[in-house]
């Protein structure tokens, strides 16, 4: 039950992240096209490209974590087996859970606090692109919680 939820959420986020990247590509191509064929490219283009990429990378942070594809150094994990391994897994779980939860919380508050800032290109509230931080870290926190303090072996879970 929990596993299904976790897999669904993780795959959904990745799908969303991929779509944002593809949209970003389309927008950059449209920008080049517009500059040469319409002789003017929209002023909001590079801003939108940036926000899409940021949203994309933030949204799939949790998925990438479950797949153990975030860069890390794998030295102690090899020697820590048995009880020590479980302890290390618990430490990882707690640190990631607490830190990402904390960042999700402060960045949500921060995003709301800058509501009145308008972006220069799109003219939208700066809160909107910034919400990708709490959503991304929140998802990372939630997925970590759903996975539980299990040993994180390379390229093992969730495909």
């Amino acid at each position: 039950m929990i596993e299904t939820l976790r897999t669904r959420l993780s795959q959904g986020l990745l799908l969303l992240a991929c779509s944002l990247l593809v949209i970003n590509l389309a927008i950059l191509l449209y920008g080049v096209f517009a500059r040469y064929l319409l002789n003017a490219s929209p002023i909001w283009m590079d801003e939108l490209a940036r926000y899409l990429v940021i949203a994309s990378v933030m949204l799939c942070a949790g998925t990438v974590y479950l797949r153990d594809e975030h860069m890390r150094v794998n030295i102690i994990n090899r020697f820590a087996t048995g009880r020590w391994g479980q302890l290390l897994a618990l430490y990882h779980w707690l640190v990631v859970l607490l830190l990402t939860g904390f960042i999700a919380w402060v960045s949500a508050r921060y995003a709301i606090s800058i509501q009145r800032f308008m972006t220069p290109g799109l003219g939208i509230s700066k809160s909107i692109p910034l919400l990708s931080l709490p959503i991304g870290f929140g998802a990372l926190c939630l997925l970590t919680l759903l996975r539980g303090p299990v040993t994180h072996t390379a390229h093992s879970t969730e495909n």
Partner: protein, 426 residues
């Protein structure tokens, strides 16, 4: 005290195997305790976001995607066929191909990271098949990708120029010869490796017919760099846009040759998204650390230390390089460049260093930082695209760092190498 505590938190957690971006964020939280904890709730999210809210960074996923698509479209084997036809009869042929294509790619983009990801995903699997160790193949890819930001165009040089009022044109010209020298240095290294590893000589001497056929087969892949070069150097698009164009080209070429299908596109996009996520989170987290260092005025403490050495340009440059090397080990490169350049410039000017020469030395240093553990973006990318454990990668990269450092010292001792072209043409 603040630095020591941050470093301790960072190193301890790196060793415990936590993801690097988590280690950086933990170090940042520790740093905020020393600076002013009340700043954390605003500055941490602000800098996390600002660190990746940079247009030129958007080229990274695009070049990764282009490389992945070329892979999915099955262009890698054709490129390898051509390489075999040309230099396959040499011992260590694919290693040379790796370096030469880095030179080729260097004229295409200004970011070594994009280079590593594009070439790495193309060449590392092939080199493995030819009997190279994965570690060497990944190391050579990361190492030779350093040529990318040295040969123009270069994002680092544009940043340096904007900070120091130096001519971008002169810097670009100045980078050409050092970039080629770096290429030659890696080829010599490959020659030595190929002999030592007793790589089999697999191919036969090239025939004209063989080369022509291979060239024709590989044309779609070879066209790609030409499109980018034409786009940027002769002028239609910015580097980020050229990334988008090359992706479009890769899709078109792949579909046209019927080697790319919907499934291939999907998996290329999916892989790119995940790899980009891993890279961007580190960039974002190190931006927070960089901000803390700047806030604590760590950079200006350096300049006080350097003042006594201001009568010799060579000693000054060696010292600056040493500082960059150490900083670059721990920091994200663009921020290291932004922090160090303003500190370095007055010191170097006082010692009588040409600002263009300083620009190339700084660029070279920052570039070397890309492959220096524990915080080198190219090392991470090379390890990721080669599916290699980071600790193995960290050990494998040192010979390449050494070769790059030797080249750097040569450039410091002989400023003429750097200044020849700008003085001739500038």
């Amino acid at each position: 005290m603040m630095l020591a505590s941050m470093l301790a938190a960072f190193v301890a957690n790196v060793l415990l195997g936590l993801p690097l971006f988590v280690c950086l964020l933990l170090a940042a939280v520790v740093g905020f305790f020393f600076v002013d904890l009340s700043l954390l709730p605003r500055m941490l999210p602000q800098q996390l976001f600002a660190g990746i809210d940079v247009f030129s960074l958007m080229a990274i996923p695009l070049f990764i995607l282009a490389g992945n698509l070329m892979n999915s479209a099955g262009l890698t084997p054709r490129l390898i066929d051509l390489a075999k036809a040309l230099v396959g009869h040499l011992r260590g042929g694919l290693g040379y191909v790796n370096v030469v294509s880095s030179v080729f790619f260097a004229g295409v983009n200004g970011s070594a990271v994009a280079d590593t990801s594009a070439l790495g995903s193309l060449l590392v699997p092939a080199m493995k098949k030819e009997g190279y160790s994965t570690a060497y193949a990944a190391g050579l890819t990361a190492g030779s990708s350093l040529i990318g930001p040295i040969i123009p165009p270069s994002i680092f040089m544009i940043l340096y120029a904007s900070l120091t009022n130096t001519s971008v044109g002169d810097l670009f010209l100045a980078g050409v010869i050092p970039g080629l020298i770096l290429g030659v240095a890696f080829m010599i290294m490959n020659w030595a490796y190929a002999r030592k590893a007793q790589l089999a000589v697999t191919g036969t001497r090239p025939t004209l017919r063989g080369v022509t056929v291979a060239l024709f087969q590989a044309a779609p892949a070879l066209m790609a760099p030409f499109i980018i070069v034409a786009g940027i150097v002769f002028g239609f698009v910015t580097p980020t846009e050229s990334g988008a164009l090359i992706v479009a080209y890769a899709v078109a070429a792949g579909l046209f040759s019927r080697h790319l299908d919907w499934q291939g596109i999907k998996s290329a996009v999916c892989e790119t998204t995940r790899l980009s996520c891993a890279i961007f989170l580190i960039i974002a987290a190190s931006a927070v650390v960089s901000w803390l260092l700047a806030f604590a005025q760590v950079p200006s403490e350096f300049s006080v230390l350097l003042a006594p050495f201001s009568d010799s340009p060579i000693i000054t440059l060696l010292l600056l390089s040493l500082i960059t090397f150490v900083t670059g080990m721990l920091m994200e490169e663009v921020s290291a460049l932004m922090l160090l350049t303003p500190v370095f410039l007055p010191v170097a000017m006082q010692a009588g260093v040409d600002p263009v020469h300083l620009g190339i030395i700084v660029t070279m240093n920052i570039t070397i930082a890309l492959i220096t553990p524990p915080m080198g973006a190219c090392v991470f990318v090379a390890a990721a695209v080669s599916k290699l454990d980071l600790s193995v990668m960290f050990r494998a990269i040192w010979p390449f760092v050494l070769v790059a450092l030797c080249t750097l010292i040569l450039l410091i001792l002989l400023p003429q190498i750097t200044l020849f072209l700008p003085e001739l043409l500038g």
